[in-house]
């Protein structure tokens, strides 16, 4: 396994005892944990692509948890964020969720609740990462196609027959068949429906993707 794929729970809290005790708790269930007293140290230290999640105390001197959260994208950090708030800090928690935190947890908290939150965030990170990788691979494959192959692929996924494609591109049917086989091979598509899904990923089948999304929301 790539070392970056082994998730790390990052803890940013200005209270030394809080971060040390969180590390103690998280490590007791075998979670790799790294702690920081200042948000800037975390931002400086984070290696892009490292899997994991981020536990942020909402109130810190210097840079508050909410501020850090907003700064993550510009640092290319897409980790799920769990915000830790003091008792009764509901407005802060609401703001944190608006900025895209996956969860918030009130201090002092039940350890099982925290661990569940962390596991959930790590799961979220994992699937986000898998999805991201899958998309990247499909895009890379698509980029390896020649111009002509892309044209053929666009028409294939619109459901045109080889003959219709040949007419549209004013080439022989035989040529279309060769290109088509090449496309299937290069895209590593097992079937036409496979190829259609990939076409949606790279965005050459916008109408289909939108129609499907609509169908899903109306379900």
């Amino acid at each position: 396994m790539n070392p970056k794929d082994e998730p790390i729970v990052f803890v940013v809290d200005d209270d030394p005892a809080m971060r040390d005790s969180l590390k103690w708790l998280l490590e007791s269930v075998g979670l790799r944990t790294t702690t920081y007293g200042r948000a800037q140290d975390f931002l400086d230290d984070y290696r892009p692509g490292q899997a994991g999640c981020l536990l942020l105390d909402v109130r810190m001197p210097g840079m508050s948890g909410l501020h850090v959260q907003q700064k993550l994208p510009e640092h290319g950090i897409h980790l799920p964020v769990i915000i830790i708030t003091g008792h009764g800090d509901v407005p802060m928690a609401v703001a944190a969720m608006k900025y895209g935190a996956v969860d918030f947890i009130e201090k002092p908290f039940n350890d099982q609740l925290l661990l569940d939150c962390v596991q959930h965030a790590l799961q979220h990170d994992r699937s986000q990462r898998q999805e991201h990788n899958r998309r990247r691979e499909v895009v890379e494959r698509f980029e390896s196609l020649t111009r002509r192959e892309r044209e053929v692929m666009e028409l294939v996924v619109q459901g045109l027959s080889n003959k219709a494609i040949a007419d549209a591109l004013t080439v022989s049917r035989k040529t279309v068949e060769v290109h088509r086989a090449k496309v299937m091979d290069k895209m590593q598509a097992e079937s036409l429906s496979d190829l259609i899904q990939m076409a949606m990923v790279v965005g050459i089948l916008r109408e289909f993707a939108d129609a499907e999304a609509e169908a899903e929301t109306t379900e």
């Binding site: 200005d14 209270d15 005892a17 809080m18 040390d20 005790s21 969180l22 103690w24 708790l25 998280l26 490590e27 007791s28 269930v29 109130r59 810190m60 001197p61 210097g62 840079m63 508050s64 003091g86 008792h87 201090k107 002092p108 908290f109 350890d111």
Partner: protein
Amino acid sequence: MENVSESYETRHHQTLEALTRLQRAAARLPASTRQKLAVALAQLQLTLQALEEPATRQDRESLYRFHDEQLELTRQGTLSEMIRVLGHELNQPLAAIVNYARGTVRRLEAGSPPETVREGLSRIAQQADRAGEIIKRLRGFVRKGEFQRAPLDIRELIQEMVQFSRPEARRARVEVEVRLDDHLPRVMGDKVQIEQVILNLLRNAIEACHHQDTRQVTLRTRQPDSQRLVVEVVDTGHGLPPGDPEQLFTQFYTTKPKGLGLGLGISRSIIEAHGGQLWAEPHSDGGACFAFTLPIAQEKRR
């Protein structure tokens, strides 16, 4: 109409007596009214003082006593606020204890060696101590102490007050830095009163940083000679208001929207009663520096 033949001393004495009676009566009033009255009385007292500097030792003592009492009222008024702040602060060690304890239980269940358990327990004990310290500080605030002078560890006092104002600093997103000399001599003073002065300056400094880009408060000490220790509270706040810095110390002068304008005047009285000085000066970085001196305790060498 006042009798012009009456000497100033007589009038002064009568007024002081009236004030004392008022204060006694005030003790029976509800806290909020009492505080308003205290403010009014302070103004009266200050006017009196302005009329003529209290020449006699008795007058001066009476003035200090008044300030002490006023301080006590302020202390009671902010007690609920303090309990709230301390409650918040207690949450930290308690949450840490829970984490350590649960983590230790999980390690035990997973068959970790006894050293791990010992480590966990010792960290729990540490945090319990910390919680105890916070409670001790609360007691120190509530205790109505006599004006006592004893050798004080100023380092400890400063650190306690910084700790106490931490939630406030966190809220205001102000970084509080403590830069103290390694070998600080002890100073002579009343612990509760000196704490009050440090806290007052610290809170002012934190508040002054509001809306500033850089929000930093630094507490430091220096020792200009063998007699005195200087404590400085430096902030990167909005700086001193234009004009004479001395106006800051007059009662009811305030730049804060909700300030009473009493804190600095009271703080100065306390420090002066200790034989020290308290003053303000602009800081080179644009903020302000509030400094006070305290006499160094002359201790026998051991």
